[in-house]
Subunit: 392 residues, 2 copies
């Protein structure tokens, strides 16, 4: 297992404490990152429905497709007799759904009592829990009063343990190696897909000490005029002299993500790009200086806004979010956002991706740092030149 | 654009014809593969909510996060004035949701009439349409009577156009190159992550003629005793002499996927593995021989069952599914399954991944072919030795 038995126990206890506060008698977990956090379960099996049943007291039960449940013990600490596989006949059918079977099994297991059971939390905005799955569950378990758990487990994940920080430091080494590969391979005349191949190779290979893992998002490489659009991937076109490429990627070690964004210009930057880069860099530095326990995310966003305004610039989107475990399609934890209307108080061992992404008309610039809140300030996970990267 | 204007028109017409048959006056599309199919829109932006409004008659409207909507025209044919970006303040909030804004905008656009509006189809089992998004939509548009569209667009996608087949033939070249990389890099003493890096590099690089694209699922490499578990990815452990590795990967060209599975043994295969491989290979050949227009998927599954039974073997899961466009986390189209209780009649230019995956206790074997139904039989997209691959 990646973590000690003690660490898994502490995680479960923290989840249950939060369940008590939210008045939940049970929680149904479907988000693959939360399943990994609580069980260690790690497989690309979440394209068919999965769920973990977490009661306030008593045994946990995990449900997955039969072919996946059978091997769950290879990555999960949960005993095999608490892991159940729904039959193949429930997979991708119009007339039924795996959670019909799961509801029946929960009933057999005796965890469905009566209408006084209390409230059961659901991850109503999880990527791999569909409206159909929700409706089936409501129908299969009429005794339950379901309510949104509002990313309950995700919120427990916000503050990292020392063991998690160690993994993120490993991911940082992978991230540096991948950004080096990007800088080397983004060059005039080379196809974008060839550069992306070099980057992904570096991400997956990792370093001698830290074998790489698959990133929740593949490298994003908007280039040329498309660099004003943040989430474009690569094409088979070649990089062009004078053009700008924005690179956003993550290093991953045992599912923990450390992202980084940098901007590469193939030639001499235009005056407007140079100005944008310097202004954005100063604003990012100001934000990093403001990170400390007790500050709020809203403080950081204000710092950013003021620093940018000094240069006549403005960026309406959030400038960062909590990071850690991730699976496709996002490496954010979907909890803390660094923006003016988020008042999370920073605490030691929270980890964020702080990103200055400036998408102007026809050009753009990105620079970011993945950070840990220390006991008195900030630790940047990676070490890589924090300015516009130029190359002939 | 990847396809002609005519081809996009034909697709929309086919979707609307099916809408009429399903008694829908409008359809709300959220699946990124369906968005790509109908609009050409291609970005890794689906981690925040997106939707396309398709009325039976009249204009289409596309909604995405403001930073993504602004650049949508770079990949989508839809005019920019039919593309709307919801403000950043709606992203990942507990107290609101992007579809609150979208509902209001649909109202402003005049597409919300009254209770006689009819039925509006929703993709109730799409990966990126959450129960919270569903509830918000129901509340924001009380005039609408929503109903499940049952993968309406996915079903239109089942039969491919000649242009799509061309792209899949390109993806097949990428697939062969990636499997060659797998065969070369899975070797005794090498770390699994290093082999995975070589495979992903080949996938993303592609060939000179066909630049590679990111696969919906990263290479799966269950090895050793774990080869009995289909959806494990790699670790940083080295490959061990005598052990078996199951490789499942896809070549991708412009989002079109052509998958392939093979099994590599590092040494001399055990008698039981050899027997399993030969039996499975014969059963796969029998299925390929049975593919022709007019046959049913159930016929194929029966052929498989009978061929396996002759060797005393049995496999309860489906042996294939429809393939084409895909985004994470699955490269299947979630429509046709090749199994005994699916009676889809095969037609020319349907495309499937036919996969013999045998997960026994402590060992396993996989072999597959991606195929096209021709006017009289079958075309296998890739050309690669179809047996147990052995290496010293």
């Amino acid at each position: 297992m990646t973590f000690t038995e003690d660490e898994y126990s502490r995680r479960l206890a923290a989840v249950r404490e939060r369940m008590t506060r939210q008045n939940l008698t049970a929680l149904i977990v479907t988000d693959p990152s939360n399943l990994y956090y609580l069980l260690g379960y790690n497989a690309l099996s979440f394209y068919t429905p999965q769920m973990l049943y977490v009661p306030l007291e008593g045994e946990l039960y995990f449900f997955a497709r039969a072919m996946d449940a059978a091997g769950a013990f290879r990555t999960s600490w949960l005993p095999q007799d608490q892991t159940f596989g729904y039959p193949e006949t429930f997979v991708q059918r119009k007339d039924t759904h795996p959670f019909v079977w799961v509801g029946q099994k929960l009933r057999e297991l005796g965890v469905v009592n009566n209408f006084s059971h209390g409230q059961v939390g659901l991850e109503m905005d999880s990527y791999y829990f569909s409206p159909r799955a929700f409706e089936v569950l409501v129908k299969a378990l009429p005794e339950y009063r379901f309510t949104d758990s509002y990313e309950l487990v995700n919120w427990v994940r916000v503050v990292k343990s020392p063991a998690e920080i160690d993994l993120m430091r490993g991911a940082a080494r992978v991230c540096e190696s991948a950004m080096e590969a990007a800088f080397e391979s983004v060059e005039i005349g080379r196809r974008q897909c060839d550069a992306a191949a070099a980057i992904m190779s570096a991400q997956v290979k990792g370093t001698d000490a830290f074998g790489g893992d698959h990133p929740a998002i593949v490298p994003m490489l908007p280039t040329g005029a498309g660099a004003d659009t943040p989430h474009l991937t690569w094409s088979d076109q070649a990089f062009i002299a004078g053009e700008t490429t924005v690179v956003e990627l993550a290093g991953v070690f045992r599912r923990y993500h450390v992202p980084m964004a940098r901007t590469i210009v193939l030639g001499t930057p235009s005056t407007r790009l140079d100005y944008l880069a310097k202004s954005t860099g100063e604003a990012l530095n100001a934000v990093l200086d403001a990170v400390r326990p007790g500050a709020t995310t809203s403080d950081l966003a204000q710092t950013w806004n003021i620093a940018l305004a000094e240069h006549g610039l403005h960026k309406p989107s959030r400038i960062g979010y909590s990071i850690g475990i991730a699976y496709a399609p996002d490496w954010g934890e979907r909890t803390v956002s660094i923006r003016t209307d988020d008042d999370t108080v920073l605490a030691e061992n929270m980890t964020f991706h702080i990103i200055g992404g400036m998408w102007m008309d026809d050009y753009g610039y990105e620079v970011s740092e993945a950070v840990r809140v220390t006991d008195s300030g900030v630790e940047t996970f990676t070490s890589f030149p924090r300015h516009l990267l130029t190359k002939e």
